[in-house]
C-alpha cells in the first residue's frame, strides 16, 4: 500500500493540474483577503479575528475541493484506460481503490493546510489585530479551529463519496454530477420526500436528513465549542467513509476494465 501511495504522490507532484488548482484557490483567497484590506483602508475596519471567522461560512468550498482533488488523483483513469496496467500486474482492486482514496485525502489535507495557512497568514499581514467590538485574534482562531475539527471528518466523508463516484461512474463530469447529487442535493430531496410521505417511511427520511455532511457543517456555526457535537460529527464522517468505501469497492470489484 505504501508503494501505491508513494506512486500516487509522485504522479501528483508531476501534474501541472495540482499546482494550477491550488494556485487558483490561493488567488481567490488573496482576492477575498484583499477585500477586507480594502474595506479596512477605506471605511469599515475589519480586524484579523473577524476576517478569519468568516471562513466558517465557506465550508461548502471544502466539499468542492474534494471534487477537485478526487479528479486530480483519479486522473481520468477510465478514459485513459490506465487501470488495466495496475490490475494486470496483480495489484488487488482493494489496494487500488484504497490507495487512491488515501492519496485523495492526503492531497485534500495538504490543500487545506496550505490554504488555511495562506489565508490566516495573509489576514495577519494586511489586517489590524486590534479587535474593538469584534472577535479578538485568539477568539477568531479558536472558532476557526473548532470549525476545522468539525469540517475535517465531514470533508473526509465527502472525499470517500467522491472516490466512490469516480470508481463507479465512467467519466469525470458524470462522476462530479453524481457526487454533487449525493452531497449537495440528496438531503433536500429526502427532506421534501419525507414531508410528502406519510407514516414511518417519511419519518425515517426526515431523520436521515440532519446527518448529511453539508448540513452538519452548517450547524457547527451555531454550536461552536460543543464537544458532543464534535464527537457526533466524527461518527457521522466515519459512517460516510465506511458506507461509500464499501459500495465503491463492491462496484469496482464487479467492473470490467476496458
Amino acid at each position: 500500500m505504501l508503494n501505491y501511495i508513494r506512486a500516487e504522490c509522485y504522479k501528483l507532484l508531476h501534474r501541472p493540474y495540482t499546482y494550477i488548482a491550488l494556485g487558483v484557490m490561493l488567488a481567490l483567497e488573496a482576492l477575498y483577503a484583499s477585500m477586507f484590506a480594502f474595506h479596512t483602508a477605506h471605511s469599515l475596519v475589519t480586524p484579523f479575528g473577524a476576517a478569519v471567522v468568516t471562513i466558517t461560512g465557506m465550508g461548502v468550498i471544502g466539499f468542492c475541493v474534494c471534487m477537485l482533488t478526487g479528479d486530480i488523483v483519479f486522473a481520468a483513469q477510465y478514459k485513459n484506460s490506465t487501470l488495466k496496467n495496475e490490475v494486470s500486474f496483480g495489484l488487488s482492486r482493494a489496494r487500488i481503490y484504497l490507495g487512491k482514496f488515501i492519496a485523495q485525502t492526503l492531497l485534500s489535507l495538504a490543500y487545506l493546510v496550505v490554504m488555511m495557512a495562506f489565508f490566516i497568514g495573509l489576514c495577519a499581514a494586511v489586517l489590524p489585530m486590534e479587535a474593538g467590538d469584534f472577535f479578538s485574534a485568539a477568539e477568531g482562531l479558536s472558532v476557526v479551529g473548532y470549525f476545522l475539527a468539525v469540517g475535517l471528518p465531514l470533508w473526509i466523508g465527502a472525499q470517500a463519496v467522491m472516490c466512490m463516484c469516480l470508481f463507479l461512474v465512467n467519466g469525470e463530469m458524470a462522476s462530479s454530477f453524481f457526487y454533487a447529487g449525493v452531497v449537495f442535493v440528496l438531503e433536500s430531496v429526502l427532506e421534501v420526500a419525507g414531508l410528502l410521505l406519510e407514516g414511518g417511511a417519511g419519518q425515517m427520511l426526515l431523520k436521515a436528513v440532519p446527518y448529511f455532511p453539508v448540513r452538519m457543517l452548517n450547524e457547527a456555526k451555531a454550536v461552536v465549542g460543543d464537544w458532543s457535537y464534535l464527537g457526533q460529527v466524527w461518527l457521522v464522517g466515519a459512517f460516510w467513509v465506511i458506507v461509500s468505501t464499501a459500495v465503491g469497492l463492491y462496484g469496482f470489484y464487479r467492473k470490467e476494465l476496458k
Binding site: A7, Y17, S81, N85, S88
Partner: protein
C-alpha cells in the same frame, strides 16, 4: 527450451456478454519457454482471453490457471507477468520516464535504473520532456512494451504488439522477443494480425475462431504440414513407395491413408515421378502440388474468405 510445464492453461473457459459468447469453452495451454502465437480473425476472442489472463475481466465459466494457480490465487502470480493488451495506455500528462517511474514505484521495483534500462531497451531513452499525449502510435507501443518488460516477467502477454511500428521497429521488436525468450527463458503469448510476422517468432500456435481454440500445433509440426509437396493418389501406395525409392532414389515421402503418397522431392520436375510410376505399373489417379503458408493454413482451417 520448453519443459512441458504449463505457464498458462484454460479449461473450457467461457465469457458471455449477454447472449454473445466471446469465449465458448476455450481450451489451451502455453508451456514454459514457448512463444505462443494466437491466431484468429477479429472478434474470435483473442483479446477477451488475454484480458481474462490479466485480470481485467472475469470468466463466466470454465477455469483459468496461471503458473499453476487458479481463482483468487492467480492474482499474486500476475506480478510474474508483463502485459500489453490493446492500445498502450498511460497518463497523457507525463513523459515516458515519469510514466514508468510511477509504475516502478507502484510495483515496488527497486532502483531507478530499472526505468533507464528498459527505456534504452525499447529505444525511448531520448524522448526527454515529450509528454505521452504527443507520442506517435509506434512510440506508444514501445512504451507499452517497456512497461511490460520492466519487472523482468516470466510470462509476457502481448496483444497486437506491432501495430503502428515501422519496419525497423518491427525488426527490433522481433529481436527483443527472441532475446527475451532465449536469454531469460521468458514465455510469450502473442497475438497478431500480421501472420507472416508471427511466423518468424512463434514456436507454437493456437488457432482461434468463435471463442474456441480450433487447433494447437507446434511451429515444427505446422511447418511440416505446410511443406510444399506433390500429393499423389495411386492405386497401390506400397508399390508406389517402392518405385519412388528404387527408381527415383528418394525417401522424402510419406504414405498416408487412402493410397495417398506425399512426395517432398521432384517438385521442380513432377513428370519424373509420374513416368516412373506409370512405367512400373502404378496407376496415378491424381497428382497435385500442395503447400501453404501460415495465412493460407489458417484461412483453410476457418473456411477461408475473411482475413485474420
Amino acid at each position: 527450451m520448453n519443459d512441458n510445464t504449463a505457464v498458462m492453461a484454460a479449461y473450457g473457459l467461457k465469457k458471455a456478454y449477454g447472449a454473445c459468447m466471446a469465449l465458448d469453452g476455450t481450451n489451451m495451454q502455453v508451456r514454459r519457454g514457448d512463444i505462443y502465437g494466437l491466431v484468429g480473425r477479429n472478434g474470435a476472442g483473442k483479446t477477451t482471453l488475454m484480458r481474462m489472463v490479466t485480470g481485467q475481466s472475469e470468466p463466466t465459466g470454465g477455469e483459468l490457471e496461471l503458473f499453476g494457480a487458479s481463482g483468487k490465487n492467480m492474482r499474486v502470480q500476475r506480478s510474474r507477468t508483463g502485459a500489453m493488451i490493446e492500445i498502450p495506455s498511460f497518463s497523457p500528462f507525463l513523459t515516458a520516464r515519469e510514466n514508468l517511474e510511477y509504475y516502478r514505484l507502484q510495483r515496488g521495483i527497486p532502483g531507478r535504473q530499472a526505468v533507464d534500462e528498459v527505456l534504452e531497451e525499447v529505444d525511448l531513452a531520448e524522448t526527454g520532456k515529450k509528454k505521452f499525449k504527443s507520442f506517435s502510435l509506434g512510440m506508444k507501443q514501445r512504451l507499452g512494451l517497456a512497461l511490460a518488460l520492466m519487472n523482468h516477467p516470466d510470462f509476457l502477454i502481448l496483444d497486437e504488439p506491432i501495430n503502428g511500428l515501422d519496419p525497423e521497429g518491427v525488426a527490433e521488436f522481433r529481436q527483443i522477443l527472441r532475446r527475451l525468450n532465449q536469454e531469460r527463458q521468458t514465455t510469450i503469448l502473442i497475438s497478431s494480425h500480421i501472420l507472416s510476422e508471427l511466423s518468424t517468432v512463434a514456436t507454437w500456435y493456437g488457432f482461434m475462431e468463435q471463442g474456441r481454440i480450433l487447433e494447437e500445433i507446434s511451429a515444427q509440426a505446422l511447418h511440416d504440414k505446410c511443406r510444399t509437396c506433390l500429393r499423389l493418389e495411386v492405386d497401390d501406395a506400397a508399390k508406389a513407395a517402392a518405385v519412388l525409392q528404387t527408381q527415383l532414389g528418394t525417401d522424402k515421402f510419406e504414405v498416408l491413408p487412402g493410397n495417398v503418397v506425399q512426395l517432398y522431392d521432384c517438385l521442380e520436375d513432377p513428370k519424373r515421378a509420374s513416368y516412373a510410376l506409370a512405367q512400373n505399373g502404378v496407376a496415378l489417379l491424381a497428382m497435385e502440388q500442395k503447400g501453404a503458408d501460415l495465412e493460407a493454413y489458417f484461412l483453410n482451417m476457418i473456411g477461408g474468405g475473411r482475413h485474420a
